[in-house]
Subunit: 359 residues, 4 copies
Amino acid sequence: MSNAELDRLRDRLDEINAELLSLISERAEVVREIGTVKEKQGVPKFDPEREKQMLEKLVSSNKGPFTNSTIRTLFKQIFQASLDLQSAEHKKSLLVSRKTRKEDTVIELPQGVLVGGAASLMVAGPCSVESEEQTRTVAAALAKAGIKVMRGGAFKPRTSPYDFQGLGMDGLRILREAADEYGLLTISEIVDPAHIEPALDYVDVIQIGARNMQNFELLKAAGEVRKPVLLKRGLAATLEEFIHAAEYIMSRGNTEVMLIERGIRTYEKWTRNTLDISAVPILKQETHLPVLVDVTHSTGRKDILVPCAKAGLAAGADGIMVEVHPDPATALSDAAQQLNIEEFNQFYNDVKASGLFRQ
Amino acid sequence: MSNAELDRLRDRLDEINAELLSLISERAEVVREIGTVKEKQGVPKFDPEREKQMLEKLVSSNKGPFTNSTIRTLFKQIFQASLDLQSAEHKKSLLVSRKTRKEDTVIELPQGVLVGGAASLMVAGPCSVESEEQTRTVAAALAKAGIKVMRGGAFKPRTSPYDFQGLGMDGLRILREAADEYGLLTISEIVDPAHIEPALDYVDVIQIGARNMQNFELLKAAGEVRKPVLLKRGLAATLEEFIHAAEYIMSRGNTEVMLIERGIRTYEKWTRNTLDISAVPILKQETHLPVLVDVTHSTGRKDILVPCAKAGLAAGADGIMVEVHPDPATALSDAAQQLNIEEFNQFYNDVKASGLFRQ
Amino acid sequence: MSNAELDRLRDRLDEINAELLSLISERAEVVREIGTVKEKQGVPKFDPEREKQMLEKLVSSNKGPFTNSTIRTLFKQIFQASLDLQSAEHKKSLLVSRKTRKEDTVIELPQGVLVGGAASLMVAGPCSVESEEQTRTVAAALAKAGIKVMRGGAFKPRTSPYDFQGLGMDGLRILREAADEYGLLTISEIVDPAHIEPALDYVDVIQIGARNMQNFELLKAAGEVRKPVLLKRGLAATLEEFIHAAEYIMSRGNTEVMLIERGIRTYEKWTRNTLDISAVPILKQETHLPVLVDVTHSTGRKDILVPCAKAGLAAGADGIMVEVHPDPATALSDAAQQLNIEEFNQFYNDVKASGLFRQ
Amino acid sequence: MSNAELDRLRDRLDEINAELLSLISERAEVVREIGTVKEKQGVPKFDPEREKQMLEKLVSSNKGPFTNSTIRTLFKQIFQASLDLQSAEHKKSLLVSRKTRKEDTVIELPQGVLVGGAASLMVAGPCSVESEEQTRTVAAALAKAGIKVMRGGAFKPRTSPYDFQGLGMDGLRILREAADEYGLLTISEIVDPAHIEPALDYVDVIQIGARNMQNFELLKAAGEVRKPVLLKRGLAATLEEFIHAAEYIMSRGNTEVMLIERGIRTYEKWTRNTLDISAVPILKQETHLPVLVDVTHSTGRKDILVPCAKAGLAAGADGIMVEVHPDPATALSDAAQQLNIEEFNQFYNDVKASGLFRQ
């Protein structure tokens, strides 16, 4: 008997489900029509006051068995779904999103260097530009090793105001000259919106650092120019925040954005940060942008750079960034974690030998 | 015109909302009836196979505008709400929950010491029981200061197997004897389900440590006896996990459970852990159990114990735990963070002087 | 016999210790003399090249039993101690440090409002300035409740570029006018170095937000003006980073800096962030600056604002910040966590009733 | 002149360094001799009381320029180095350490299956053993795919006491029978020290789960038997804690320990946990044990299992663990993240196709 009873109840459930589906679908159409009217009037689509009224009306006619609080929650979700229909089209149109653009964005740097294409990219260079000699020494070594893009910091965001803050515009000039002498391209971090314009002559890629990932004025300024941008993930930024930071740049018209995972802040102390390797495939899925991995800052340990670079590439990264200094022991910043030139050559050879670095 | 149009659309929205409410409420009743039938049959209420079928049926008749994926999500929420109606009654009946029991649980220890009542509790004592002399020295000092409950570790969970592991049952005996001599009660950590029974003669409160907060076999064993339990929050446990760990104990019949916040693991390095002060009011709201704050382990710094104890009490804690050792520099564990006796007296006086420690 | 042997060995140990002390002290004097010479020559005191040579020399004459690596580590520590002697004097002279200035910094705002003095400060106001009406409604309510400083965001750093970004300079003007009408002072966040100057007419306190705590260009710009600054701790900033961020401002000449703890990012999900209560006493010890607690952002939950505000005050905070909105449900940002006016009045009364809010 | 002066000062520095070296080395010899005497007497080598006396003596004769506090710190380090000389030999002798055993430990399971050797290992199976049919279905599929080791939980540590807790010993029997039928080996988690012995008939590898990584009584019990153990990293365990947890097992005589990284708890919400990929090379360097990566629990997302498995292998992991269920939607635990059989076959083929899975 009870099985017959169960069947009857289940049939009724199916009927109710079907009616709900039909009503919810109709509801979405009505909301869409309201949206169209509002758009014509130039009024924002989401009207919290009206939503409140609707919820009050529902609650006041609620006879159970759901509590008023459940009714509120459930209908907020239904309301939200209708709104999402419109913003999903909106989210679908997030410029960085893979939904907006199916194909990978491939960024063309000068000298035909491509980022995000068939070949992997290795970016190397000193933490800071310290002197012409130091920079030229690295440039020569990188060029000899076959590297095409050199990094070097001229504006250094440092925890203490009394630490070496970089050589500023002079540093950018030194970097450019050394790079030109050895046929290299340049990446350098810019920290002030007002420096973006003047830096354009010196850098082939503008880097936005981890501490500035949500410096929205800087992101907007970087969005206004037509120069590739390498955006670092913030010290403790979620992937959602990271993607939206990139959107700030793209929404201003600069479509050449590269993302770089550089480790996140966790409780673990045997590494400087924790390399969030899952960020690589997630960013590749969610966006169409090139994704790099900074093995130096994410680990802070020279002894695991090779396996971490290989892991990054295996996870789908388009490139690797690593710090190299002619004499790390005397470096003005990041002394402990930069490779010397011999170590870099060994590192690069090991990474290439793995077959994961596409050449 | 468009306003009339808007009004018309909004009226239709209100109608749809009302119909949805009516259907959803009816749906809940049907689900409840099914639940009753199933209960009689001894079959679990949640039937994932059936849910899958219902979702498939809905998706197959979905004509838009929602995507199938939104329909799935929305209906899962509706299904969930109906199930929740039953499990809300279930959750309402979580034994630790404030919904189950409105009044604060007040635990009565021997000698009429109450925890969770009108007076605040100060628990003090050494990290480890190291010797009779050390334990008696602390006991004498605590008794003199007016303290009623002494802590002292006999089974020490230590990171390395080669570190001092505590004196075991001998330690419990030493603790008990010293406590008895000075008229104190005892709290000590038990780490093995098999030790719960034998420990009952020696401890007035069984402590379950942070590393064992999800050692469910130990929780169950502690739930089987009739002795108050002090449960520490895990190193990186969420509050939800913490509450459910307490439920493991209560679900076995032991209703005398106290919770203690002892700091969580974060990236900050100037404190040993991060004292999560919001845990105190949340635990007081969500449960009816007494809540303490362990200022020693949460901070690991002697210089901020007073303000942190005051903060704990101001946030609503029923008591404070602190470590005291006759000669912290020579302690076999936690050397850096235990107060000596003079420091403890100062600490206790300062806390009492704040007026936050209810006497 | 072996005890005599032990005594002999221990005597020799004491002799060696004494000789080491004498040598290390002499060493420090020599290093200091070298420093003086270098200072005259304008050469940096730390010479990594020279340190390297000294280590090499030591290692090459090391005959054991220590490994070369231990010798390096040990002597680096000895070298470091000598250098620290000089930089300790340097650190002692960190401008924010309690060592530099023993007394609490008390900041005098217009109308004789003091921060960091005998009375506690309550800062309240909406997350965002949305309209004249909304702002005036809050201002009227705050004035009636006896509040003297109103917050209100005009430049809103938002995760998405498509979220409400604040009314900008218009928002500042609205805030100022409403504040003036009701005799209140204003606090508002500035996000672009270029906006600091123009904002001076509208705000009594410049707020630097969590996302910009290490936007060093903004810190420097705030350091150049003579207007009090309220600096928020970064989302995942260490206390060391926080203190140094304040130093960036002070090092430019602006001595009126207030610090505000606003919760840090952890794994716990029942609160928006984790209020790091130990930050309060540590910041009060390490610096001489006023310290506030933002209960709204640290918890993200209206139901625990009172206990958290009390905890903040008990821990030594000089003030509390809380968000208030005439109709939180319709707020353009932070809708879920702002108090409405009635709730705010209740909150403020409860906090005052605790006796912890010094009036 | 000042250069001559500099040279003179530097010469004196070199002399002092040499004398310090000689004294420190002699000191170490004396400490070693004392250690030998103490060993004969059966007295612990570290005597905190004596250390305190030495420090007091030094401080009392300190005439500057170092503060007493620096002298304490410096000499504690010197004392420590001498002690470390003995414990370094001790640490060198940590059984899990690569210093103790240069070669990789290769664990031989029945049927000649090797872990940590030339071939990579793929462990797959359902989160929980739910029924004979479910388990046999998976076993058949795994055997067909060429998998040799099947996992399946019989004792499930669950946050809530009311969640499905596994089938217990019945589950182990079902797992064993299904495995035997299809020629597979078994891995299953044990949570109670008392279950280790009875489980030996059913499992080829004992798993110790993340929540029990510091359940030291369980570790000791697992150390007493002669059956390979797979030890999971705790939810928020440091690598140091992880290694020492393994040492607990080895110190009891069980040398067949495998480590498995399964993600750590961080603030990021787009993954269930954060796969700490650097753990793999660090564990391989610091220990001689096989290291696996659990891609299911570390990510909690089916869509990134392939890149994360590849990253794990590229980083040096000896194997991968993944959850497979005939019908994940109806699973009694981990419903959202288990692969169905078709998905598993695709996953395994993709991993093998990368060339990173050594066969």
